[in-house]
């Protein structure tokens, strides 16, 4: 029996707009409000993680100077910085924040398919954040096991936070996964089942494609983290031995026998590697849309861009052990995982070439979002190239656990996605708030952040080649390192503090715009995608007023020859304006 798609129903589902402040802004089921709640919370914990990194840099740049940072604190800062940035900031911001905001608007839907579940998703996420933050204040403090939480050390005495911190960390992760699953099911089902008339999958903007595939990755990868968190909780609380071999800890036998620490590494990285792409794919998608819009040119090779996202998503599940080359695994495994890892370079290179070719002969407007998008291409190529080094077993072995690795992953999955986050916030800010930001302030923010991050992470590559190990509280007397290594460390610290302070400009801009920013045009960038064609700015509950939009073309009809405007929105019919290249299926 047929099921009538919502876009085909005669009578729209009636919308009872929430009236009170509570239902409108607190217990809201509107995807846009939930998106802002998600983003606000994520940015809040992100700032905490930024402060933690500044503390770490203070210690590294000027050891023996700050009495308030001891080795235990340092490991706690490292752990919390990493975990917050990867999971509670980037995953939550890209999927919970941008996913929530953009999917229904870009697909021409009224909301997510299950708004109540969507609301629950945010509140459970907030709970996980609260559990995480509580761990700063429990006896022993938060866990200092490193963000990878490797056993046996993560749950044995001697590691900071072994009393309560590790329990709260694992618990918070489990709660986060529940929250993510509730949201993620919504995002995937909305993209698959609730698009507007004419919106075929191959007409969707690449932002939606990136977020969609990243969410699928999350739904399939987070289970491994959940299972490893449960197993480690059992090892810690009731002394099972999933990950714990027979071991003597500080002269005491904790009573474990026969477990496999390597099993944890496999489970963790089966989650951990797709996680890289959970963060990267939304960034890929969003940056494609920013480049195309601000270069007034269709994205180069749309169909290949889509397939590249899918291919990268699929491949990301069979490369995980390249994080474990030094764990003593069989050399044939190393060969297999090095091969699959380097194969990922093919679809990734397709994407990079296509971004660059999109800019080629474009009518480039260097507005703030575009600056961030172009900067992303730079940082992503740099981070990607160092990935080729680390993906090869023989080159990885000496570089493993040095600052080269730190520089690599910060460049490729720290700086690059964060640049896209900023670009995306500036880009959609007029739609989200109805106000413009300050362009000059935004450009200062961009240049200081972009140049600042380069002066942090480029020198780190040299430190890594020189053999400076990561995760050390202080180097002590190390003969193989020249004295200049410490000078370089001090300079990196100064740059890091500078970049951290620069972010104040962003918040100044946000608050200035909210209070005094000029009213925004509904479509200030002359963009084609549906979210810019809403009847109200910011869009009201239900997004589209009485009638759902209809989609008549792909998302990239910029500068179509023979048409007076240099853009044709997706909802303009084909008999009104010519259709550029369209991969949409006729129906």
């Amino acid at each position: 029996m047929g099921y009538v798609a919502i876009a085909d129903r005669d009578h729209e589902i009636e919308h009872h707009d929430p009236q009170t402040f509570i239902t409108k802004y607190v217990w809201s089921q509107d995807h846009k409000v939930i998106a802002i709640q998600y983003a606000g919370t994520a940015i809040f914990v992100g700032v905490i993680a930024l402060i933690l990194s500044a503390m770490m840099r203070l210690q590294l740049g000027f050891p023996d100077t700050f009495s308030f940072i001891n080795p235990e604190n340092y490991y706690q800062f490292i752990t919390m910085h990493g975990m917050i940035m990867v999971i509670y900031l980037l995953t939550a911001l890209f999927l919970g924040g941008f996913g929530n905001y953009l999917i229904p608007l870009m697909c021409g839907s009224r909301d997510m398919v299950f708004p109540y579940l969507n609301m629950l998703s945010y509140w459970v996420y907030l709970l996980s954040v609260i559990i995480l933050l509580i761990s700063f204040f429990v006896p022993g403090g938060s866990t200092g096991a490193g963000w990878t939480l490797y056993p046996p050390q993560a749950i044995l005495p001697g590691t900071p936070g072994v009393e309560w911190g590790i329990l709260l960390m694992l618990g918070s992760l489990a709660v986060f996964i529940v929250a993510f699953t509730m949201g993620g099911l919504n995002y995937v089902t909305t993209v698959l089942q609730a698009r507007c008339r004419g919106m075929t999958l191959m007409r969707m903007p690449l932002s939606v494609w990136g977020i969609f595939i990243a969410t699928i990755l999350g739904l399939l990868a987070f289970p491994a983290l959940l299972v490893s968190a449960i197993m480690m909780l059992l090892d810690k609380t009731i002394a099972t031995s999933f990950f714990m071999p027979a071991i003597s800890s500080m002269g005491v036998d904790p009573g474990h026998t026969g477990g496999s620490p390597i099993l944890f590494q496999h489970l963790f990285w089966f989650f951990g590697h797709p996680e890289v792409y959970i963060v990267a794919l939304p960034a890929f998608g969003i940056v494609s849309d920013l480049l195309s819009t601000h270069a007034r040119k269709n994205i180069f090779g749309y169909r290949m861009m889509v397939w590249a996202i899918i291919a990268i998503g699929g491949l990301s599940f069979i490369v995980w052990a390249h994080h474990m080359y030094v764990s003593g695994m069989n050399p044939y495994f190393g060969f297999f995982f090095a091969t699959t890892t380097l194969i990922i370079a093919v679809p990734t290179a397709i994407k990079v070439y296509n971004w660059v070719l999109t800019l080629w002969e474009g009518n480039i407007h260097l507005r703030v979002p575009m600056l961030f998008a172009i900067a992303f291409i730079f940082t992503f190529i740099h981070g990607g190239l160092t990935g080729l080094f680390l993906g090869n077993v023989t080159i990885d072995l000496p570089l493993s656990d040095t600052y080269f690795v730190v520089a690599h992953f910060h460049m490729v999955m720290g700086v690059s996605p964060v640049l896209v986050v900023f670009g995306a916030i500036y880009h959609w800010w007029p739609k989200i708030t109805g106000r413009m930001y300050n362009e000059t302030l935004g450009k200062w923010h961009f240049w200081m952040t972009f140049l600042g991050t380069y002066s942090i992470y480029l020198p780190m590559h040299y430190l890594g080649f020189a053999g400076v190990p990561r995760r050390y509280f202080a180097m002590g007397n190390t003969d193989f390192l020249p004295e200049s290594a410490q000078t370089l460390n001090a300079s990196i610290t100064l740059s890091a503090l500078f970049v951290a302070a620069t972010q104040i400009l962003f918040f100044v801009n946000v608050f200035w715009s909210l209070r005094k920013g000029p009213k925004a045009d509904p479509n200030p960038w002359d963009a084609t995608t549906l979210e810019w064609q809403t009847p109200d700015t910011p869009p009201k509950h239900g997004n589209w007023g009485h009638d759902l939009p209809e989609c008549h073309r792909w998302a990239y009809d910029y500068s179509v020859p023979g048409y007076e405007d240099d853009f044709i929105p997706q909802n303009v019919p084909a008999d009104v304006a010519p259709v550029g290249r369209d991969h949409g299926v006729e129906h």
Binding site: M1, G2, Y3, A5, I6, A7, D8, V113, F114, T181, G184, L185, N186, V188, T189, L192, Q193, A194, R195, C196, R197, G198, M199, T200, L201, M202, R203, L219, L220, A221, F222, P223, A224, L226, V227, S228, I230, M231, L234, I238, A239, T240, S241, F242, G255, T257, G258, G259, S260, L263, H266, L267, F270, C551, G584, V585, H587
Partner: protein, 219 residues
């Protein structure tokens, strides 16, 4: 002309509005079950891994999971009954889905209640099995007299996780069955796809049990 072959598949999935001709809830349940499959797969792979890694001998399942009737131990008898019950419940569930689409509310209700009852008895027998292992055999999550400590750890963790799924399913079935009975869905257009969605979950839980049964009791 409609494209055929691989292109036809892409054409079908990428058509506008929706990729699958089914209600949102059903699509979402399929995606959830895919995610849940990965959870159980990780559990089972983890179990296989620790079983291979541990240095102590693994207890012999046919002896551990034997019940004595009149002094004669019968291997795996309890688990055979439990498995039979759970698979039977999949049958009553399938009949409930059928009756749901025929809009026979009364039969749908009773078949769902029967499914829930079979599920509850499964959980009950599992509680019995746990009690016997803990009290009589001295199996604990952190160790047991028969051999490797990981036997108890993985057994309680995995069957416990599955038992929670069955228990949640029983509650889910009863809630939906009650709504079928009191006419909740009549007010919402008289559609009973929800019975099938509940059924998807229930069949999934049964299917997972088949794997747990094979890897735990037969290996």
């Amino acid at each position: 002309m409609e494209p055929i072959g691989t292109e036809g598949v892409v054409h079908d999935f990428s058509r506008d509005k929706q990729a699958f001709g089914m209600p949102w809830g059903k699509a979402m349940m399929w995606i959830f079950l895919l995610s849940d499959t990965f959870i159980f797969s990780c559990f089972l792979v983890g179990y296989m891994s620790v079983r291979l890694a541990t240095t102590d001998p693994w207890p012999i399942p046919s002896e551990v999971f034997a019940l004595s009737f009149g002094g004669e131990p019968i291997p795996l008898i309890l688990i055979a009954i439990m498995t039979f019950i759970l698979i039977t419940s999949s049958g009553t569930m399938a009949m409930a889905v059928n009756m749901g689409y025929r809009k026979d509310r009364k039969k749908t209700f009773w078949l769902m209640v029967a499914t829930a009852a079979l599920g509850a008895s499964f959980v009950g027998m599992q509680a019995f099995e746990w009690t016997k292992l803990i009290v009589e055999e001295g199996v604990r999550p952190w160790g047991n007299p028969m051999g490797a400590a990981q036997f108890g750890s993985s057994f309680f963790m995995i069957t416990g996780f599955h038992g929670m799924h069955v228990s949640a399913g029983v509650i889910y079935l009863l809630v939906i069955a009650n709504r079928v009975r009191n006419g909740f869905y009549e007010k919402r257009g008289g559609k009973y796809e929800i019975v099938e969605i509940t059924g998807l979950y229930w069949h999934f839980v049964d299917l997972v049990w088949v794997f747990i049964f094979a890897f735990f009791y037969l290996w």
